[in-house]
Symmetry: D2
Subunit: 308 residues, 4 copies
């Protein structure tokens, strides 16, 4: 396929222009006070081919990774601790419950259902090795910095906001400790979790991260950072559980491995072809970017991206 | 009824002798490491009439109040903050779930079902006023000291053991904070809760506390400490939810307002007549003293104590 | 107490007059089409002492027993099949779930929590012996006829209405069959259940039925129909689970063993003293008569009827 | 790829030989008495390319479709009634609950989570049009007959066995009626559901049905029976929910759209390439063929079939 000749730039510009107005149907996340301040009408999307980066709209506006970070802390935990150790503490099944639900921890198998819900991601965090929170977070940051080829930092305001208000996540972490699915000190693990959620990126970064997954763990510089086996595993979770409890509908309508965060970003990876990303802070009831989902659906149809 | 003439002492001695062996059917609480050390074959019961105290077996062995403290912290919260404020944060319905369940907090009315389950008791604790944990705990201790007419202390080993291992209670407390059913600082409220659970009593103390309830809030010295209205309210909760999720069966088989704790004590109040208490550290699957329940059933039948 | 001299008639008249207007805060049951037709402003209450019947308001308006029938089918099943057989199929714990909930059947002990919720009552129905629905229903009707000293019939319209629309009850019954808590043929048991729910009474009948329970199973004619042991058992259930998932609040505010039905009746028994009944078809959200609960609370306070 | 030259026959023979012994780790379905009679050590697999059919082991042993039928009744309902009508009655989200769970119907969105769990499949069945069960079933049979190019029948013993013992499915159906997710008569819909579950196939048939999906709705004779859009939709459900609550693990380990049934069959479709099928009646705890899952994992790795 002669990719150069397709007008990706025009497609992205049209995509943003046609969908930005959907922001009115959603609401900016309010559970972290700091997030409430974002302008809901921001919208952007980006696409990376092996040849070039294309972007349109608010693609350089910084936001925090939030749940998108779950993908990369899982990669770190899998690489550092091994598949078996990780899946001793977290399951691999999708769930119809919402991302912060605690019910299943009590009524089902006594381990969080998968690493893409908060409970599972906190359990995974606890497995990242290191002598301090800084050292453990360093492993996640180093992975991102190698992929993005730039230093990566944290939004201190969002981090402190999460620290102060993350009562539900604290409840999940203590519950995990009780059922022996959280290694080490609860407060330290939560500190690590809140920090990784506060990592700053923009929409083009998400597209680069998506491209890294699409290229089976090889960076733009050609370095194989993570083994293809682990990338496939994580990509599969993105399909079955990446969009909270709207993952099933997203799989049907868009059909690309993706992970969303409550700050409004969505990272998507078209295996072997593209990294794609969308940004729009107004969320639907399930926590996904209203504009982002619509833009990705549009791109999937226009470029026939569904893996199904 | 000419109470003096009945051979209560003989009845109690026979009751302990006949039921002590049931301890083999239960297990000493293990969720707090400190409690595991108790000798499971201890057994005692005590009964107080307005005239005298009767006792048999291990009635002077000290143990911690555990869940029995919920009755008295509720009385303090109701007296200090009023009925309306308390029931804004906790419901009044029994539940078929176990005492440390978190499910209902998420799936039902977003407030703990009643003040006798852990979640409800922690919410109630948070309403006890004071500038420090010591001051707040002081209100509970003062009530107990006035009833028992002696200084009351805490088992520091049990307290620290609960502090270190109470992950499920921490989970409940943070969940309560998230749904706005816990006032103030989570860690301080938990500290207060763990301390009140660690208050030291013996079986005769429990009988005295039961007598206080049976006498509608009047101490042995004749002082009306708590209004009869609040005593009735708390006594009702003891009937519908005092024996964890075996309260229904206990109501049928014993029929006395009672509250049990995982250290093996059961406090019971026969309105207008007796305070009764039983002690035996081996618990059944629902967390009630195996020997204690059987001894109370025996006493209820022998003395026709059921309120139904 | 010289009961003859108290002005019960005046108290009842005042009670109805003062509370009838609360009907505006509730709604007539709509889940059975036939019930929707009832005038929501009807209100009546009745009280029976060993000496006389007192009544005020719409005490002669006929309505169907609905859930109140659960008390009497339970008595029949207990008497015919024995305590052990009955409690092999149904538990004895109250529940915070609503009366028609199916969740607990799946997540907890695989038997309905108690005989006062629909699932438990259907299981109990299946234990009533007989070669046909008519014969089995006959046992329930005979008990009622002996207590009321008059022939008792069924509202055919309500019965057929329940038959046609009782999908939730059918779901419960088939679930019970699956977990081996329903004896015999599902459709026949449901037929029996729908018929017993459709038994016609009025408010004075309910007071008479309450008096029978208050007199420990002795009829007005002096016949001991049911053993006191079974009456106590059933009365205890009325306290812990008789008012659906508002039983805890009712115990606190009224404190009398009672059973409500969605047609708006409430039967209450003050042990050793009175039979009391209230009627008012407008229901609160939990399925209890809005006016009925308020009238009973008023009477309980005026006559100090609480057993707590 | 020159498909002719690969030794598929040898690969399949080796696959069956190496995995047949895993049957000892599972159990033949017992919930339908008729299924219990099957020999647990049967094992077979089949693969169809556009050029040829390859098979090894017990590929001609007849068994009933069971849950695999859900794929085809969904295709019929979607084609006959349209996407919108179908998804008004059933959701599209995966679930961590087991296939016959009723909990979510009550606690979540009041519609079955997806068409691959029993509740959802029964709701879908109710949407298949026709004046009689025969006519409605005829639509499903006709689709299968056109794909398989042979007459298709029903196992009458299994059908009657399901009719007599399917209490849980009856419970689900009546619950669906209550929440308005089941069109028409409950018993007729259940009759249709039980019949479609009893459709007789063998392992080579499953491979042919898989090929039909892999070819986007085109038969071996070249006829486009179902639009590619609907095939994609159904295929996506197979990935997220096709293997009961082991779908997430299957996606990770095998990565092929698949649907299993409790008779031991698994149908799989590798988009654009193959139809694959496995058979082995011994099931794991989640209801999937123990041998079947292992054989498909082996084939997926050997032929690199994962879509992720």
């Amino acid at each position: 396929m002669a990719c150069r000749e397709y007008d990706y730039a025009g497609l992205l510009a049209e995509t943003v222009a046609r969908h930005r107005h959907y922001a009115a149907q959603g609401e900016v996340a309010s559970y972290i006070p700091e997030l409430r301040k974002t302008d809901p009408t921001l919208a952007g999307c980006a696409l990376i081919t092996p040849q070039a980066l294309y972007e349109a709209g608010d693609t350089r506006y910084p936001f925090t990774l939030q749940s998108i970070s779950k993908v990369f802390s899982l990669l770190v935990a899998l690489e550092q601790r091994g598949v078996e150790t990780v899946f001793a503490k977290v399951g691999s099944e999708p769930t119809g419950d919402s991302f912060n639900s605690i019910v299943k921890l009590e009524t089902s198998e006594q381990k969080p259902l998968n690493p893409m819900i908060n409970a599972g991601a906190i359990a995974v965090c606890s497995l990242i090795p290191g002598d301090s929170v800084e050292e453990r977070l360093g492993l996640v940051l180093k992975l991102l910095e190698k992929i993005l080829d730039r230093p990566v930092g944290i939004d201190e305001h969002v981090y402190h906001s999460e620290q102060e208000t993350g009562h539900r996540n604290r409840a999940l972490a203590h519950f995990l400790k009780d059922i022996d699915c959280l290694e080490g000190d609860v407060d330290e693990v939560l500190d690590l979790y809140f920090r990784q959620c506060s990592i700053l990126v923009d929409c083009t970064d998400l597209a680069r991260l998506g491209m890294f997954l699409a290229q089976k763990g090889v960076t733009a510089q050609g370095e194989q950072l993570i083994s293809p086996h682990l990338i496939r595993l994580v990509t599969t979770f993105m399909v079955t559980c990446g969009m909270y409890n709207a993952s099933g509908e997203f799989a049907i309508q868009v059909g690309i491995p993706a992970k969303s965060g409550v700050s409004g970003g969505i990272l998507a990876a078209v295996p072997g072809r593209f990294g794609v990303a969308a940004f729009g802070p107004a969320l639907d009831k399930k926590g996904n970017s209203v504009v982002g989902v619509r833009m990705l659906r549009h791109l999937s149809q226009a470029l026939d991206l569904s893996i199904f």
